[in-house]
């Protein structure tokens, strides 16, 4: 399996993406992080012939073209891709978003803290958990 990309970050806000990547890199949680800017790109990347299986997908919900929910749905519907842990990383605190993602089988739902320090902390924790603590299946 091609494991070059360890973390797939799907985030339309470049600033947020920058902060997230910086945090992850600073904590040595991943070597190769791929940043895609909307859902369509994510789907194209994930569902091409090359059978990409990143270790973790950090998914923003509010994105142009195809939004996070859609990506999530497609991912969890696919036999192969559904084993990939998906952590939603969004500013939305809305109950309906939370419920829907959980119904689709999201692995975690993180609300981006407004406070920068908290944000860094959260990303670190998530990264640490999924990349270090968590035991992934062999496919990934």
């Amino acid at each position: 399996m091609n494991n070059t990309v360890e973390i797939l970050l799907v985030e339309d806000n470049p600033d947020d993406a920058g902060m997230t990547i910086r945090t992850l890199k600073k904590n040595n949680l991943a070597n190769h992080i791929l940043h895609l800017e909307d859902g369509q790109e994510a789907l194209d990347y994930l569902f091409n012939e090359e059978n990409k299986m990143p270790r973790l997908i950090l998914l923003d919900l509010k994105m142009p073209r195809v939004d996070g929910i859609e990506v999530l749905r497609k991912l969890k519907a696919d036999e192969k891709k559904r084993v990939i842990p998906v952590v939603v990383l969004t500013s939305s605190k809305e109950e309906r978003d939370i419920i829907e993602t959980y119904k689709l089988g999201v692995n975690a739902y993180i609300v981006k803290p407004v406070d920068f320090d908290q944000f860094v902390k959260a990303v670190t924790q998530v990264g640490f958990f999924w990349m270090v603590l968590n035991q992934p299946p062999a496919e990934i």
Binding site: M19, S92, V114
Partner: protein, 982 residues
């Protein structure tokens, strides 16, 4: 119990005791013998044992002697002794055969004795050799020991035997003692029994002796009674032989006893004349068993005789045969003489009585029975004497006037006599005859009797009778006739006069021949006045014409009558309404006038007037009611009656309303069909009053709204439906308007709500957008500034750091502001969900959240137990969070943070407070405290957005409470809010 049996029992008892005693004695004697034998035996044994010992001693002595002297002569008794020892032992053994113990002892003794003997032989043998040898042996004391042993054993044996002796002796003595006691007791018993028996016999004998004496005495008395009775007693046997006669009779007869008893028969003692009487009666006695009062003439010894009355009873044997008579004899001499005298006078009297030409009779006063009548009376009556005697005159149907008899009898009894009483008597042939009698009340033979003497006065009487009869008949007839007439007259008079109706008899020209008393009571005129006033003047002028007309109609036809009402003039001037009839009876000979019969109907007229008036009133009300009133038939709904108003409203005339087809009135709008109308009517008919609205059609075709009231009522005796119709057109129009308006309003409300909902949704979306879209760049600002600080911090000087920090803190502040604003706005839209809250829990929860171990300074937080509240939990939490965080924040500069939280229950609400010892505030600016974005402190002193308290105020206000605060610069602030009780 009879004496014999008692004696027998006593005797048997004694006998049995004797027998028992004998047996007992016998047994005891036997025992005694046995006892003495045992005693003897024991003595024997003792003696024998003693003898044995003696012999042994003898032997001892013998051999001792030999030992001492060596002389064989001493051996003799020894040798003898040894022999006899054997014999003695054997004897003892035999004697003690009964006692095995003793026998064992003897056996033992024998052994020892033998040993002694052997020893003796030994010693002897030794002696035969030398004295020293023997002496040595003796000195060894074995012999002595043996001897002692023997002695001991014998003693022992004897002691035992003596003990046995004593016990047996004692036993024997006891036996004798018992025996003597028992015999003593039984002897005493026997004595007692014998004495008892003797006593019983004695008593019995005494009693008998006494009885005998009594009997003898009585016998003598009886004898005396018999012999000296005032009458004669005798007894004759079956042949008539006198077997017993008392002294009195003997005396009367003048015979001595010896000559009569068993010597003479009764025949011998009576006169020949009375033989047959005796014979007859004797037979009778023998057959019947008794004779009573037989008259016999007894013959004395001296030949004289005397009359007697004899009665007798018979003594019969077991077979019923006559044994003897018990006869009493009474001397009848005196009575006989008296009887003769009476007979004589009776004869004389009888002659006078029976043969008198005057009719005589004697009757018992009490019963009226004829005791005696004479020939003359008997002939007169045509009865025989026998037919009359014993009967009363009533029974004989003698009296012509039996009812008079009572009175006659009373008279006689009162006065004692009656003279020339004329009575009618009937003879047997039924012919009535008259007598004139004198009757006297006399006492004959103790009885009150009537003695009557009368003469025949029939002929005279008959003549008198006839005349009187004729007269009375005549008189009667006249009387009858008169009575009838009077009675009738009375009857009719009574009817007329008592009648409350006024009755008059008048001539055709109006003269009143008669007027009943009622006229006086009704019209006030007296009878005289009435007879003078012409009748027509009493009639009301308006009614006279009518009366005349009617009069004309009847005047020519006899018996015809008319009926009318008119007014009559009362004496005091009032007109009285009367009603009645006038009948033409002019030609009736007994009346010969016009008969009028009128009654006062004033009251009735008044009532009628009142009814008419009431009726007119009701009709007035009915016709002019504001409602249209219909009367319907229940079953069909047919209109039976309507009022004026109904006609006015509908435009139909009354007749048209009654006759028009009801379907004409129906609009046939749904709800207002003919069927529905009938339904209403039927329901009302069932007793349920109906109230409803109705749409009806007028004559001109227009529609009318009515409020209808249906009620079941009894009209003219029949059950009907009373319907009230009230016009409600205006009201109905108004109603419909309102309805329309309501509908419109409803519609508007729905619209508005939809609009509001849309707005709300938009707002929600907006909020979401704000929260998401505004915050994101904020994060970047903060983040990158932070990155700048971290990654390029070395390149920055102090100012550079400060600037970066400003960026960061402002960005954070903005974020906080956005959050607060969002909360604030969200609050407005949120629904209150009230519940019973434990304020303590909420406050403590908030405190735990806000005071963490990290930010802990010196906090003194006092929470006085808070009263529970009824409010929205999350909102209240928000309130406490804001208030407490404020308190903490503004006290942050003080050494010790002192916070107090508590609640006060007040009238209708609870007041909660929180006080701190922080920076406080200037009361001058208290109004701004709760406004949005208004702060009373600089950000550099205390950070904050100025929304917190505004939020608190908003929440509390939404709960219906109030908030206010007090503060003093640098001394702290106290915040209050109230929550109403639910």
């Amino acid at each position: 119990m009879r004496l014999e049996i008692k004696l027998a029992i006593g005797f048997l008892l004694t006998l049995s005791i004797f027998v028992a005693l004998s047996v007992y004695t016998y047994l005891t004697s036997k025992e005694q013998i046995e006892s003495s034998r045992w005693v003897t035996h024991t003595n024997e044994v003792l003696y024998s044992s003693q003898r044995l010992l003696t012999v042994v001693l003898d032997a001892e002595t013998g051999y001792r002697g030999f030992v001492l002297t060596g002389n064989p002569k001493f051996l003799e008794p020894y040798l003898n002794s040894t022999d006899s020892i054997k014999g003695r032992l054997a004897e003892l053994l035999r004697l003690s055969a009964d006692n095995s113990l003793q026998q064992a002892k003897i056996k033992k003794l024998a052994v020892v004795i033998n040993e002694k003997i052997k020893w003796g032989e030994q010693v002897i043998a030794a002696r035969q050799f030398s004295f020293e040898d023997a002496s040595n042996l003796v000195t060894s004391l074995k012999g002595k020991k043996l001897m002692d042993e023997i002695r001991g054993m014998v003693r022992d044996f004897q002691t035992e035997e003596k003990r046995l002796l004593v016990s047996r002796t004692a036993e024997s003595e006891t036996q004798i003692y018992n025996f003597s006691n028992v015999t003593l007791i039984t002897r005493i018993l026997i004595v007692i029994i014998l004495l008892t028996m003797y006593w019983m016999v004695f008593v019995n004998l005494n009693a008998r002796r006494q009885a005998e004496a009594d009997l003898r005495n009585m016998s003598a008395e009886i004898r005396d009674l018999y012999d000296n009775a005032p009458c004669g007693y005798h007894s004759v046997n079956v042949h008539g032989l006198v077997v017993e006669m008392n002294e009195t009779e003997l005396r009367w007869l003048g015979y001595p006893r010896e000559e009569v008893i068993n010597k003479l028969t009764l025949n011998d003692l009576i006169t020949e004349a009375t033989y047959p009487v005796l014979e007859e009666n004797f037979l009778l006695l023998k057959k019947r068993g008794y004779i009573n009062n037989v008259a016999l003439e007894f013959k004395r010894k001296d030949g004289s005789s005397f009359p007697s009355i004899v009665s007798a009873t018979a003594i019969v044997g077991a077979a019923g045969n006559f044994l003897r008579s018990r006869s009493t004899v009474f001397d009848n001499t005196d009575r006989k003489e008296a009887e003769e005298k009476i007979k004589e006078s009776e004869r004389m009297f009888s002659m006078l009585f029976y043969k008198s030409p005057v009719m005589k009779a004697i009757m018992e006063a009490s019963t009226g029975n004829y005791i005696e009548v004479n020939d003359a009376l008997a002939d007169f009556l045509g009865h025989t004497k026998e037919e009359i005697v014993g009967k009363t005159s009533i029974e004989l149907n003698m009296h012509g006037h039996p009812e008079k008899r009572e009175q006659i009898i009373k008279n006689i009894q009162k006065n004692g006599f009656v003279r020339e009483l004329e009575m009618q008597l009937n003879s047997k042939d039924g012919k009535a005859r008259w007598v004139s009698t004198n009757v006297d009340l006399v006492n004959l033979n103790g009885k009150d009797c009537f003695l009557s003497a009368g003469i025949d006065i029939t002929a005279r009487k008959e003549a008198e009778e006839k005349i009187s009869q004729m007269n009375s008949e005549l008189g009667k007839l006249v009387e009858e006739k008169t009575q009838k007439v009077i009675a009738n007259e009375k009857r009719f008079r009574s009817m007329i006069e008592r009648n409350s109706d006024m009755m008059t008899l008048a001539t055709p020209d109006g003269k009143l021949l008669y007027s009943s008393p009622s006229l006086t009571s009704v019209l006030g005129y007296s009878e005289e006045e009435l007879s003078t006033i012409p009748a027509f003047e009493l009639i009301h002028p308006d009614d006279v014409h009518g009366l005349m007309e009617q009069m004309q109609q009847i005047i020519n036809t006899a018996g015809k009558s008319f009926y009318r009402q008119h007014r009559l003039l009362h004496k005091d001037g009032r007109w009285i309404w009367c009603e009645g009839s006038v009948t033409n009876l002019i030609n009736d000979p007994s009346i010969g006038a016009l008969v009028s019969n009128f009654r006062d109907i004033t009251e009735r007229k008044q009532i009628e007037e009142a009814i008419k008036l009431a009726e007119a009133n009701y009709r007035e009300i009915f016709e002019n009611a504001t409602d249209a009133i219909y009367v319907h038939e229940i079953e069909t709904g047919k209109v039976l009656e309507v009022n004026q108003r109904a006609s006015e409203i509908t435009g139909y005339t009354k007749e048209e309303l009654l006759t028009t087809n009801p379907h004409e009135f129906i609009t046939n709008q749904p709800e207002y069909t003919f069927e529905k109308a009938i339904d209403y009517i039927q329901k009302a008919g069932a007793g349920e009053p109906q109230l409803f609205e109705w749409l009806s059609k007028k004559k001109d075709g227009s529609f009318n709204w009515f409020e209808v009231n249906l009620k079941r009522a009894s009209i003219a005796g029949k059950e009907r439906i009373l319907a009230f119709f009230r016009e409600i057109n205006d009201r109905k129009k108004a109603q419909l308007e309102i309805q329309k308006l309501n509908d419109e309003l409803e519609h508007k409300v729905v619209q508005r709500t939809a609009q509001l909902e849309t707005v709300n949704k938009e707002l929600e979306a907006f909020t979401y957008s704000v929260s998401h879209d505004l915050r994101a760049p904020l994060r970047s600002v903060v983040g990158y500034a932070q990155i700048l600080k971290e990654d390029y911090g070395n390149n920055l000087d102090k100012e550079g750091h400060r600037v970066t920090q400003v960026i960061i803190s402002n960005a954070n502040r903005m974020g906080q502001l956005i959050d607060d604003l969002l909360d604030f706005s969200r609050l407005g839209r949120k629904e209150l969900r009230k519940a019973n809250l434990n304020m303590d829990e909420i406050v403590h929860g908030v405190l735990r959240e806000l005071i963490t171990p990290e930010n802990w300074r010196h906090h003194e937080v006092k929470v006085i137990q808070l009263k529970p509240s009824h409010a929205d939990q999350s909102m209240l939490r928000q309130v406490w969070t804001n208030l407490i965080s404020n308190a903490l924040k503004y006290s942050g500069k003080k050494e010790v943070t002192k916070i107090e939280i508590g609640s006060i229950d007040e009238n209708g609400h609870t007041c909660y407070y929180i006080s701190d010892n922080g920076a406080g505030f200037d009361m001058k600016y208290v109004d701004k405290l709760f406004s949005v974005f208004q702060r009373l402190h600089r950000i550099s002193d205390f950070e904050g957005t100025g929304v917190g308290l505004a939020l608190v105020k908003r929440i509390i206000q939404r709960h219906g409470g109030t908030v206010w605060a007090e503060g003093k610069i640098n001394e702290g602030a106290k915040f209050y809010f109230t929550l109403p009780h639910n």
